[in-house]
């Protein structure tokens, strides 16, 4: 935004009033629609496209109706998380990777943040699936923490400082399994603490979060996430706030747990190194859209999208000596005012004539590898264009 001329960042009072009025109308409408859908189970149950997936994101659009305009944080995102696998979601800050996971958990700041289009399907396991966008809160409460759980970035702030560790881990089990006895719950908690590699589990059970180091706290957060054996664990930058050696410990732990448990992991990070070591599938996001997805081998050995290529070249790698790091020129486009051509065109060094046309469709270049770039328009199999939602039509 800093490269634009000054005037454009400011909006006039009448424009600001118009936006506020519009936002109020849109969000009220969406809230009503959602409340209606929540009353009827048939509206929030659907079927999975592929039974082997835990979650399917199908053209998901999550918009924020902010005071400066509509921010299309996630705009037509398509990918799925298969059973028993790890999917890494990579991108820079602000690219919508966290919003994608928050949409799945229905933890968006409502009413300004709304899922306005598409479907998020979460596998129930009995042939049907939840359509998360329409699921009412009463049902979500049984999914959150129980079937889908989340590990947050900051272990320092995601534990409650006034409760003992034991109580915080117990709470999850107690909430989702009210039939269990106190002893059984405690036994379960100790088992979890043992699983995440805490040696002094009886002692830690009676400690407060401030008595533990960052790495230990992250282990507790993982224990909390695992307490109900969820089918999907979302790890949102689980190691970013930690030191290198502690990061190694936590990654090691997650890797081991994945083999022990029957869960899938959705690993959100900006560190390509972390993804390479952990993920089976990788999704690269840029400015609210998926630009490339494939297996870890596809992405790291045959990167196709110029953004992915640039991202890899701009990170120094130990043992690979370069004189000058590549830097991607320019900045991410303003999220309030996205261009109607490829979002990466203005920063791209491989652009062609076609790039000035519509936003590129998803192009299949191998069985597992999809990319949204016109460089493969002739050679690949053309898929669908990402579907954006026209906010004016929502009212």
């Amino acid at each position: 935004m800093s490269d634009q001329k000054k005037g454009s960042a400011y909006i006039s009072a009448s424009e600001s009033r118009r936006i506020t009025r519009f936002n109020r109308r849109v969000t009220r409408k969406l809230e009503e629609k959602r409340a209606d859908a929540g009353k009827d189970p048939s509206l929030y149950t659907t079927r999975m496209k592929d039974e082997n997936n835990v979650v399917e994101f199908d053209n998901v659009c999550t918009y924020f109706f902010s005071d400066v305009g509509t921010v299309k944080a996630v705009d037509g995102v398509n990918f799925s998380v298969p059973k028993h696998s790890t999917v890494g979601v990579v991108g820079e800050s602000g690219c919508g990777k966290s919003v994608t996971s928050l949409s799945l958990m229905q933890l968006l700041q409502r009413p300004s943040g709304q899922i306005v289009g598409g479907e998020i399907r979460f596998n129930k396991g009995d042939g049907t699936a939840y359509n998360i966008a329409n699921t009412p809160n009463s049902v979500m409460e049984h999914i959150r923490g129980n079937k889908i759980s989340m590990i947050f970035q900051e272990p320092m702030t995601s534990l409650n400082p006034v409760f003992k560790i034991g109580a915080q881990v117990d709470e999850v089990t107690k909430l989702h399994h009210p039939e269990m006895s106190e002893e059984a719950i405690k036994a379960r908690t100790l088992e979890m603490l043992d699983l995440v590699g805490i040696a002094n589990k009886e002692g830690v059970y009676d400690m407060y979060p401030h008595e533990l180091s960052g790495g230990m706290r992250q282990r507790i957060c993982i224990a909390i996430a695992l307490a109900c054996s969820p089918t999907l664990i979302i790890a949102d930058e689980p190691t970013t706030a930690l030191d290198v050696t502690i990061q190694a410990q936590i990654l090691d732990l997650l890797q081991n747990l994945k083999d022990k448990l029957n869960s899938s992991i959705m690993l959100i990070t900006h560190d390509l190194g972390v993804v390479a070591g952990m993920a089976d599938y990788v999704v690269v996001m840029y400015a609210g859209r998926v630009v490339e997805k494939g297996t870890a081998d596809d992405i790291f050995h045959h990167p196709a999208h110029p953004y992915t290529i640039g991202l890899m070249a701009s990170k120094p790698v130990v043992g690979r000596k370069v004189d000058k790091l590549y830097n991607i020129p320019g900045n991410v486009p303003n999220p309030v005012d996205m261009p109607n051509y490829c979002y990466f065109r203005d920063r791209c060094e491989m652009k062609c004539d076609r790039c000035s046309g519509l936003y590129p469709p998803e192009i299949k270049i191998s069985d597992t590898h999809y990319v949204s770039c016109y460089r493969f328009y002739e050679t690949g199999e053309i898929g669908g264009y990402p579907k954006s939602v026209n906010v004016e039509e929502l009212v």
Partner: protein, 325 residues
């Protein structure tokens, strides 16, 4: 062999922070943040300082610039003992040695426009004639990749990468010889990191700057540094040229640290040495070798006697009993 031209010489630098308790604020102990470290940086070169958080690397950087008073030891920048200076001498010396802080969001005054942030110290120290002041600030800004029309803007209008450029321009404007970069890229995105690192390298080439580059990101350190020092709990445990230390780390801590670097290639199965536990408290460091509580190759001797920091191979310093003659 020709005499090497060292710009910075740090000799047995010690910095303790007192722990005060009770009503009378009696000193009951010390946090040994920097506990006797020595190193030298050649003119125009970059030294990387790595270590976990809490190992004293930032304190070290700040004490070198006398932003913190030392407990004991000696620091000489360009042959001048900075702890022997009085206020007036220190003031005239300050432009020589500058610092770029980690967090570009909190290290710029929100009330000053960019031109003033960069130019304030220039005017204060009389670096340039008042008549040329404006064009000088523009020149510095251009060198850091900031267009002139940013001068009247305020920090909140900029992104993280741009702010870090402003911080670098502010340090550079005083014509320094030596800059301490305290985690300058840790708060930035990957693609922005590359821009800032390239900028630092270009400026070094152009102005012959000497850097002390403090970071916990080893791949960045490997990229930018000529020599690397590894710190653990207030001590330097290993020091050598970048290539030597990365190809053949000697100290067990360095080995573990380097093996923990995530490599962006799914086929490379790293043989990670996972260190148990976390860094002990610097207020109560372990007896003997400070690393012995987490070391895989710990011997009886390590628990008793602290190893000597010495030259194990030419130009390769290490503090570990494994290499005792």
């Amino acid at each position: 062999m020709t005499q090497k031209d060292y710009l910075l010489e740090v000799d047995d630098l010690v910095k303790y922070f007192p722990i005060k308790t009770g009503f009378f604020k009696r000193t009951t102990g010390y946090v040994k943040a920097v506990d006797g470290i020595s190193f030298k940086i050649e003119r125009g070169k970059t030294m990387g300082l790595v270590g976990e958080s809490g190992c004293g690397k930032s304190t070290c950087g700040r004490t070198i610039l006398r932003l913190l008073e030392k407990t004991s030891g000696n620091v000489r920048i360009d042959g001048k003992d900075i702890f022997a200076m009085n206020r007036e001498e220190l003031r005239t010396f300050r432009p020589q040695a500058q610092i770029v802080f980690q967090d570009p969001y909190s290290s710029l005054s929100p009330r000053l426009p960019v031109g003033e942030i960069i130019g304030e110290a220039v005017r204060e120290h009389g670096i340039i004639d008042a008549s040329e002041f404006d064009s000088y600030v523009t020149r510095v800004m251009n060198a850091c990749g900031l267009p002139e029309y940013y001068k009247g803007r305020y920090p909140h209008e900029f992104s993280g990468g741009q702010r870090q450029r402003i911080c670098i321009a502010r340090a550079l404007a005083l014509n320094p010889q030596f800059i301490v970069c305290d985690e300058p890229v840790s708060a930035l995105d990957v693609s922005i990191q590359a821009q800032v690192i390239n900028l630092l390298k270009d400026l070094q080439k152009e102005f012959g700057l000497t850097y002390l580059f403090i970071s916990h990101d080893l791949s960045v350190v490997e990229h930018i540094s000529d020599t690397v020092g590894v710190m653990y709990l207030g001590n330097m445990v290993e020091f050598s040229e970048t290539e030597k230390i990365f190809s053949k780390p000697l100290h067990p801590y360095t080995q573990a640290l380097f093996s923990a670097i995530p490599i962006p290639d799914p086929d490379v199965k790293i043989n990670r040495i996972v260190l148990e536990g976390s860094i002990p408290s610097p207020a109560d460091p372990p007896q003997g070798c400070k690393f012995h509580t987490r070391c895989a190759g710990c011997m009886e001797k390590c628990k008793q006697i602290a190893p000597e920091y010495r030259e194990v191979e030419p130009g390769h310093f290490c503090a570990c009993h494994l290499y005792d003659a």
